[in-house]
C-alpha cells in the first residue's frame, strides 16, 4: 500500500481496502477465479494507474481497462478522412490537441500540418466557430469527437452557427456512444466480467438510467464512479458488495455530479442535432452497431462528411497490434508483442498508446504496480 499516504484521507483509503479484501476473499472462494471489474472510462484508467490502485487491491480481483478513451478508439480510416479534408486548400481544420498524434494509414494530423495543411488546435468547438466568423473566405471544419461528455458542445455550436447563419462552418462528426459498446463487450464470447465502474462525466450528461439493462438483462452490477482515488476504491467496494449480496443494480457513487435523468438541456441539444448511425467502426473493436452518431439531415450543411465526400475507407489496424484484445480485457497491455518496443507513447502504433487515458500509455507511463509487475 505504498501510495495510500498520497491520498487525501489515507485512513479512509486503508479502511476501504480492508473492506475490499474481506469481500474479495468471501466472493473469490465461491467463484474460484479472480473477480473481473471493467472501468469503462479512460479517466478512471488514468487515475487507477496514477495512484497505483491495482497494486493496492488483493490478488483475487482484476481491473479490466475498457474502451473509454475516445481518442484511443478512433480508427485509422477516420484519421485519413481528417487528413483528406484538411489538405483541401480552402479548409482550416480545427481539432482538440489530443487527436493530433492518432495514427492514420498515411500520416497523422501533426504530419499533415508539417506538410502544409492548415490545421489548428482549439480548446472548444466555439473557438472553431469564432475562426469561421473571422475567416469568411475559408471553410472551417471542426473535428468533433468524444462520448456524450463533448457531444452537447458540438450540438450547441452547430445550433449557434445556424442561428447566426454562419455558412463556412462544419463539423466532422466522430462522436461515439458508450452504452452500445458495453453491450457489445458483454455479448463478446471471450469476456468474463463481473461488474462495471460506470463513467462519471458521460453519466453527468446521460444520467444513470441508460445502464439499467446491464443490471437487468446481463445481471451485472454497475456503479457510476467519480475520479478521486477514494471514489474509485469506494465504487469497487460497492460493486463487490452487490456481488456478495447477489444483487445486480445500477448505483451512483458520484451523486454530487451525476443524476438519474442526466442533463436535460444537453440531451435536448444532442437529440435535436444528431441521430444514431446504424454502426460505427472502433479501433480494436471493429464495427459496433448503433455506437456512433451523425448529423441529422436538417443540419446537413454543417456536416463535413457530406460537404467533402470523405473517402470513408475502413483500414485495418497493423496486424501485430493487439489493441482489440487489450480493449476487451483478454490480455494485459504489457502482453502485447509490440508494447514498449515497436509501440511507445513517442511513436504509437496502436491507439491505446496515444493518450494518457489509453490503457497502454497509462501502463507505460506509470508501470504496473504490485501484481502486474510480471511485465
Amino acid at each position: 500500500m505504498k501510495y495510500v499516504d498520497e491520498f487525501r484521507d489515507g485512513r479512509k483509503a486503508a479502511g476501504l481496502i480492508a473492506r475490499i479484501e474481506h469481500l474479495v476473499a468471501r466472493i473469490g472462494r465461491a467463484a474460484g477465479r479472480p473477480i473481473a471489474i471493467m472501468e469503462v472510462c479512460g479517466g478512471h484508467t488514468h487515475s487507477i494507474f496514477r495512484y497505483g490502485i491495482e497494486g493496492m487491491l488483493p490478488a483475487g480481483i482484476e481491473l479490466i481497462h475498457g474502451p473509454g478513451c475516445p481518442v484511443c478508439v478512433l480508427p485509422m480510416g477516420r484519421i485519413d478522412d481528417c487528413v483528406a479534408i484538411a489538405e483541401q486548400p480552402q479548409v482550416i481544420f480545427t481539432t482538440f490537441g489530443d487527436a493530433m498524434r492518432v495514427p492514420g494509414s498515411r500520416k497523422n494530423l501533426l504530419q499533415a500540418r508539417a506538410d502544409g495543411a492548415d490545421i489548428r488546435m482549439v480548446y472548444s468547438p466555439m473557438d472553431a466557430l469564432a475562426l469561421a466568423r473571422k475567416h469568411p473566405d475559408r471553410d472551417v471544419v471542426f473535428f468533433g469527437l468524444g462520448f456524450e461528455t463533448t457531444m452537447p458542445s458540438t450540438a450547441f455550436t452547430i445550433l449557434q452557427a445556424e442561428s447566426e447563419g454562419v455558412a463556412n462552418f462544419s463539423v466532422f462528426c466522430n462522436h461515439i456512444t458508450i452504452v452500445p459498446t458495453i453491450k457489445a463487450i458483454l455479448d463478446s464470447p471471450d469476456v468474463q466480467l463481473d461488474g462495471f465502474l460506470g463513467p462519471g462525466h458521460v453519466s453527468m450528461v446521460i444520467g444513470t438510467s441508460p445502464y439499467e439493462f446491464i443490471a437487468r438483462h446481463y445481471g451485472k452490477p454497475l456503479v457510476v464512479a467519480g475520479f478521486e482515488p477514494l471514489d474509485i476504491l469506494q465504487s469497487i467496494w460497492m460493486v463487490l458488495k452487490q456481488i456478495s449480496d447477489s444483487r445486480a443494480e445500477v448505483e451512483n457513487q458520484y451523486a454530487r455530479v451525476v443524476t438519474t435523468g442526466g442533463n436535460s438541456a444537453a440531451l435536448r441539444a444532442i437529440t435535436r442535432v444528431y441521430e444514431i448511425r446504424p454502426f460505427f467502426e472502433w479501433r480494436g473493436l471493429g464495427s459496433v452497431d448503433h455506437s456512433g452518431i451523425r448529423i441529422r439531415d436538417c443540419y446537413a450543411r454543417f456536416d463535413a462528411e457530406r460537404r467533402y465526400a470523405v473517402p470513408g475507407v475502413s483500414i485495418a489496424d497493423p496486424s501485430a497490434c493487439q489493441c482489440g484484445e487489450v480493449l476487451i480485457g483478454a490480455i494485459k497491455p504489457y502482453q502485447c508483442k509490440l508494447f514498449g518496443t515497436a509501440c511507445t507513447p513517442e511513436r504509437p502504433l496502436g491507439a491505446l498508446m496515444v493518450a494518457s487515458e489509453g490503457a497502454c500509455a497509462a501502463h507505460y507511463q506509470y508501470g504496473g504496480a504490485g501484481k502486474v509487475s510480471a511485465a
Partner: protein
Amino acid sequence: MCLGIPGQVISIEDAGRKLATVEVAGVKRQINLACVVDDAHPVERCVGEWVLIHVGFAMARISEQEARTTLQILEELGSAQGELEAMNDPASAREA
C-alpha cells in the same frame, strides 16, 4: 478533454447567448452556460457559482469543495496544466 476542469463564474458576458466569463486557477476564459441554466436557474444566478467545464461548456454546477478537490486531482493526474494551456492558447498546448 474528457475530465473537464472546474471554474468559477465571475460575470455574464451575453445573457441571450448564455455566455459567461469563468476563472479557472487564475485563467479567465469565455464559456457557454447553456447546459446548466433553465427558467428556474437563469444565467444571472450562476455568478459566483462553480461549474465543471468540458471543452468550453459548463456541464454541471458543483460545490466549491468539489471544485477544489477536482482541481487537485487533475493536478495530480498531470491533466490540469495541459487543460489550462489549451484554454489560454490552444496552439501552445501539449499535443498529447
